[in-house]
Symmetry: C2
Subunit: 496 residues, 2 copies
């Protein structure tokens, strides 16, 4: 969930300074429209890692926009008045009225996370707090509010560097946080429970936006843009969220993306490949025969660019296995039977029983890839799919199913070569269609959908593995090794 | 929440037999329309007390309707196949496709309730299961499904009689239930946790219908009617719930109602009244000075028919108290400031701090009373208000606030006399307006709204007290005594 926010997003000073004036003007316009229409309030939630620029960003927003129409509320320690009343009272009294914007700096999420990180309660109580937050936000959205949720992220290394820098800065050493961020464990726990919170509360009507906090230019521009687009979408549309008015996800504003950050030159020579392949295949066969497998099932999801080598990778996985133990489920367009059911129905049908292994050749992610890009479903439908998928995979994981997910990535040039090769070779010609050529034209839109997908569904319980697949050998070995590592990790966990 | 289902609803045989043919025909028509349109599935959930006629009703529905278009699924013990997969798999495989109806007899709610009643887990885990059910149902409704949830209720006494009768019936002694209903404690716990489940999961898009299970004619007709109206509403409207297509609540089909069941002849003579009034006032003053009050606050809500005597009752409550300790909040139409905020905002403002007492003269229930009846808000808005209000009151209760709610009921004749009296007496004339006379014409609609309100918001944490107020003396003493009992119960609980 935080992968995209650890790839070193940055915007250079010139670009930043060139972009800011227009952004500021548009933000001011949006503010005045908001005031004019007075149809709904905007609630901005600021959360995330210490030192990731939360405070600076809020300060900047106040400079950029008309501060008379923004109210920034910091929720630190509860006051006496607040302590004497139900916990939500402090938020209710600070709600911005229709036409205004409220920035909640420290809010219901910070409170529940602090409690959980400090070990004051366990996951069941955290989940109660999450359900309470969901009810609150759903009510606010039903009442017309636009909720924009930012999570400022830093990698652990970045955070440590940042805290060090801040320490020596007299302007910043007033910071007090109830969590001791100097402790390595605090970061780990905060990120782990933070992911749980984001996974559960990222809803179509109030999605999260994860912002990499290292570069001030990047984070300021990213936040400003998302704020602007969300406000514009709501101002231009009907007042009710549920009528298809889905807030926009942010676009990449520098040239960096998760897929772009892959090292596409990675490769294996033939000899290493053959040796490693046999090793990993034997390891997988052994793991699936292991008696611990009785407590688990295995699901492997294969997605990727056309001609990225999904089929070949799947064959190498299956090669060493007993056919009674695994099955391969190819996913194409839904049948009439499947269309008469909720979207996830046809995948639930194929969930493996304990001890079994199911390989999905394409999967439920079609909803947020092809269906999104081709417009086969409404934005509201694919927006809510992220949450539904996380919920689905969490249920799998809770039942002992190990879920591994692969995106096989190739670059456009490699794809072109493979397409051309397929057209040359008679027995491969069936593999290439007009549609494949058409999809190539949508390379960028697909890449954006892949980025959003990974950002919103790569979770601790079911992480995505991006596979550099320009070299098929590298890809196949990486896939097998990832599956083996996931199984071993699950077995080890179960043992304790 | 179950009050309306303990008042002895019944339908005589002749009425029943006269009504059934038309109902059956309409149900069959709806079934064929459903099949024809094939736009959505209908999912019927059957839950409730053992012996309340769940099985008989399902059997009857199958007789009344075309069984080829209904699939009844019983979820008892999990099969081996089910046990090897995530718990929800059994429901997914049984989902009816678009155009069909599925009756889920035993379902996610029965499973979570059994676990909780057996003490396998505590409320936090029950709440996780509730949140899971909410996510599942929200997803199903987002996908277009119509979910109709029935809770069959019996009072404890009725249940015991019914179990005894069933025991000697050879047709019924095959019943197996994982809960031992012969145990008095089982009933109490089932009802208590059942109420928690209903309170949390009664949503505008999938409300609960509580059915009194004693009389077979009544329960069959009630269920048939609700089924029919829900299907007709969905068939005639747009396919998406959120676009204002709110499933109808059931109407009373016999002449019985909670308000009608009140004994309106209850009265106190002057001497008893004066004695008891002074006693209860002194008791209240003492309780509010008690040091345990430091851990609590008190909220009293007064609703009732026009001229039912709310003002007089409130004055008698306030009479003996220190004005620094209580405040009276009269609720009229919302101001412009309040209209710029979510509905509950203006009530949150007046939540008393610990140690304090707030009297609401009319309240947040305006949403489901006057706003509903007069059409000041959309059906979707007042339908979701029940859940929002329960959530609000639960937060109050969790913070130590004792919530007592009064509906002061008078009959139409008494109201007429009081109106006329008010018009005669100069200093009372300001109390009577044109609007009061207009409201009289809507007596039945208001009564229905009151019934729904009590059914959906009278909870263990904040029960409604219906006050027979034809006699003002009786009403005032009952109000004071109820407040005192609620405070004493809270203090006693806190002590342990």
């Amino acid at each position: 969930m935080f992968e995209s926010a650890e790839i070193g997003h940055s915007i250079d000073k010139e670009t930043f300074e060139a972009e800011v004036p227009a952004l500021r003007e548009a933000l001011l316009d949006a503010q005045y429209d908001l005031k004019q229409q007075a149809r709904f309030p905007v609630i901005v939630l600021i959360n995330g890692i210490e030192g990731a620029g939360k405070g600076e960003t809020v300060k900047l927003l106040n400079e950029w926009m008309d501060p008379r129409l923004i109210e920034v509320r910091t929720f630190d320690q509860q006051t006496d008045e607040e302590l004497a009343r139900p916990p939500a009272w402090r938020y209710w009294r600070a709600l911005p009225p229709k036409g205004r914007m409220g920035v909640f700096f420290g809010n219901w999420y910070s409170q529940m996370l602090e409690g959980r990180v400090h070990g004051q309660f366990k996951n069941a109580v955290l989940d109660q707090a999450i359900a309470g937050a969901e009810r609150l936000e759903q009510m606010l959205c039903d009442e017309g509010a636009v909720i924009i949720k930012f999570w400022f992220h830093l990698s652990k290394k970045q955070m440590k560097a940042r805290l060090k820098a801040l320490k020596s800065d007299p302007l910043h050493n007033w910071r007090i946080s109830p969590l001791d961020w100097q402790q390595s464990q605090t970061y780990d726990r905060f990120v782990r429970f933070g992911e749980r919170v984001l996974r559960r509360t990222g809803r179509d009507y109030a999605p999260w936006h994860v912002i990499e906090g290292v570069d001030p230019h990047y984070r300021s521009l990213a936040v400003g843009r998302i704020l602007l687009e969300s406000m514009q979408a709501a101002l231009g549309n009907s007042p009710r969220k549920h009528q298809g008015n889905v807030p926009p996800l942010g676009r990449s504003i520098d040239q960096k993306s998760l897929l772009g950050a892959l090292d596409m030159t990675l490769r294996l020579d033939k000899r290493d490949y053959e040796e490693q392949l046999v090793t990993e295949q034997a390891r997988l066969a052994g793991l699936l025969r292991n008696k611990r497998m009785r407590h688990h099932a295995l699901v492997a999801v294969f997605e990727g660019n056309d001609a990225a080598g999904k089929g070949g990778a799947i064959r190498r996985v299956a090669a060493a296995l007993d056919p009674r133990q695994y099955s391969i489920v190819p996913i194409a367009a839904p049948t009439e039977e499947a269309r008469a059911q909720p979207y996830l129905w046809r995948f639930w049908r194929h969930i493996p029983a304990r001890g079994k292994f199911t390989i999905f050749d394409r999967s439920w992610y079609g909803r947020v890839l092809v269906e999104r890009v081709e417009g086969f479903c409404s934005p509201a439908d694919w927006m809510r799919a992220y949450g539904e998928i996380n919920d689905f995979e969490e249920q799998l994981r809770n039942a002992g199913v190990v879920v591994v997910k692969f995106w096989l990535a190739i670059d456009p040039q490699t794809q072109l070569e493979r397409f051309q090769e397929r057209e040359q070779i008679p027995f491969k010609r069936y593999k290439i269609t007009e549609e494949d050529w058409r999809n190539r034209d949508k390379w960028d839109v697909y890449s954006e959908a892949v980025g959003d997908m990974v950002d919103r569904t790569s979770t601790e319980i079911a992480p995505w593995t991006l596979v550099e697949a320009n070299d098929k050998r590298w890809a196949r070995v990486k896939v097998l090794r990832t599956i083996n590592q996931a199984l071993e990790a699950a077995f080890a966990k179960h043992k304790h």
